[in-house]
């Protein structure tokens, strides 16, 4: 992937560039926002890693400058920030960043982080969705009908759980928040929705600690993630519920679990 890195700290630039190149990426590094914009205008990039706080033009300014222009390609723009609280992450995501990486980050896990946050946008179309569908089907022993039933159950159950979570936050019932968020976490984990799972985990912990002050800040991104997951699952169910759709070769392969003999 072609990556543009903008960070005013020289040491961070050197270390990050070194690691990204070792991971096989092509990297251009600049020390400020103006240079980032100039590089971006010169040639296309798959990913922009922007330090939030740079003298002159900040990462947020660069993001807005790029997003305000109509581009044929939409690069993934990731904020790199020393402010690591949930509020900061939420604030930056609201600004329009696709993902947020907190400092200090582990260089050896940079690749995994980039894969995780970037897969959907930089993989060839459909690859990631297909891989996720394959994994999902594998996790239920290759049983397409079972997976479709689970999706229907989730689509029926999730809005109720979300309503319970919202009601528990509104009425400050910590115990209810803990149990509803925990139950929803179980469902979203099955479907591999890690961000939603994380938000549910945080809400459940706040509930267990009887400290709901931050709960509304977590509820907002959770709603977004659940809406995304519901849309994806509806799309998957729509594609695979049609007569004859069960024969998609990449989704229908037998798994080790399927090959087991019944007892």
């Amino acid at each position: 992937m072609r990556i543009l890195l903008a960070d005013d700290q020289k040491e961070i630039r050197l270390l990050t560039v070194n690691q990204l190149q070792r991971d096989g990426h092509s990297v251009v590094a600049v020390s400020n926002g103006q240079d980032a914009l100039a590089e971006f205008a010169r040639s296309p990039f798959d990913i922009l890693l922007l330090d939030e706080l740079m003298p002159g033009m900040s990462g947020v300014d660069v993001l807005h400058a790029i997003r305000s222009k109509q581009q044929s390609a939409r690069p993934l723009i990731i904020a790199v920030t020393g402010y690591n609280t949930e509020q900061d992450r939420t604030r930056l995501l609201r600004e329009g960043f696709d993902a947020v990486i907190g400092k200090p980050f582990r260089l050896d896990s940079m690749e995994a982080t980039l894969q995780e946050v970037s897969g959907a946008s930089v993989s060839p179309a459909g690859t990631r969705a297909q891989r996720e569908a394959d994994n999902l089907l594998e996790s239920v022993g290759g049983d397409q009908q079972l997976l479709l039933r689970m999706i229907r159950t989730f689509l029926r159950d999730a809005p109720k759980r979300m309503a319970q979570i919202e009601s528990a936050i509104r009425s400050q019932r910590a115990h209810h928040l803990a149990s509803s968020a925990h139950a929803l976490k179980g469902s979203v984990a099955i479907f591999g929705a890690t961000a939603a799972q994380q938000h549910c985990q945080e809400l459940a912990e706040l509930g267990r600690r009887h400290d709901l002050a931050r709960a509304p800040d977590i509820l907002a991104p959770l709603k977004e993630e659940i809406a995304k997951l519901e849309a994806n699952l509806r799309g998957y169910a729509g594609q695979n519920s049609r007569p004859g759709a069960g024969g998609r070769p990449s989704l229908g392969r037998p798994t080790s679990a399927q090959k087991r003999k019944p007892r």
Binding site: V140, G141, L146, G186, S187, A189, I190, R260, R263
Partner: protein, 219 residues
């Protein structure tokens, strides 16, 4: 056909586990919390209960407490994403056979269920001598089935190490414990092996003291 009770407050999880197990030929019932499970166990004899921990009304651990007075207690496998040592050790004290980490997948689920059903219905008692997040000490009887059981608990306790290191340590631990139980304890369930688990920020240490004549320690 072995009868299995699946207990989880999440409908999607119940449906998944039930679907996978039914397809594999098991007789499957479901319950949405500890109360429902208790009622089901009082009505019907189950070979195995797959039990979530955090549920409203009655938690999985609450159910384990209630089961103490019951006859014909089924084998229990806990399924949870909770990796805190307190929860895991409470489950171990409650004679839980094994631990399944969520999110579940069909292959691990079926392997664990087959393994749990293939061993004797009696779950050997594991004594928890000392238990805190940094130091756990267990006395385990010299029976082969306890090896994977103890490993499934200790390997899932929260530790800040890469997965591959945890896996290697787990493999070494399994070998140590197998040796102690087979050679030191001669597979005599009346003899006990002492297992110590010590965790620091960047270190994980197991110590296995077998009951053999030389009373060997392996670390």
């Amino acid at each position: 056909m072995p009868a299995i009770l699946v207990t989880d407050d999440d409908a999607t999880t119940r449906q998944m586990v039930r679907g996978v197990l039914k397809k594999a030929g098991y007789d499957v019932s479901v319950a949405a919390d500890g109360f429902g499970a208790l009622r089901a166990i009082q009505k019907k004899r189950f070979d195995l209960v797959l039990l979530d921990i955090w549920m409203p009304r009655m938690t999985g651990l609450g159910l384990l407490g209630h089961l103490h007075g019951e006859k014909n207690i089924p084998k229990i496998v806990v399924m949870t994403s909770d990796q805190t040592s307190d929860t895991l050790l409470d489950a171990l004290r409650g004679r839980v056979y094994q631990y399944l980490k969520k999110p579940l997948d069909a292959t691990t689920l079926l392997t664990t269920v087959e393994n749990a059903l293939s061993t004797s219905p009696e779950v050997p008692a594991i004594e928890v001598v000392s238990a805190n997040a940094q130091w756990v000490e267990l006395m385990v009887p010299c029976e082969r089935s306890v090896v994977s059981r103890v490993q499934s608990f200790l390997m899932h306790m929260d530790v800040d190490l890469p997965d591959d290191i945890i896996e290697k340590v787990g493999y070494a631990f399994r070998e140590l414990l197998n040796n102690a139980i087979e050679w030191g304890g001669r597979l005599d369930p009346n003899l006990k092996v002492r297992v110590s688990y010590i965790k620091t920020k960047k270190m994980l240490m197991y110590r296995v003291d077998d009951p053999g004549p030389a009373s060997e320690s392996r670390t």
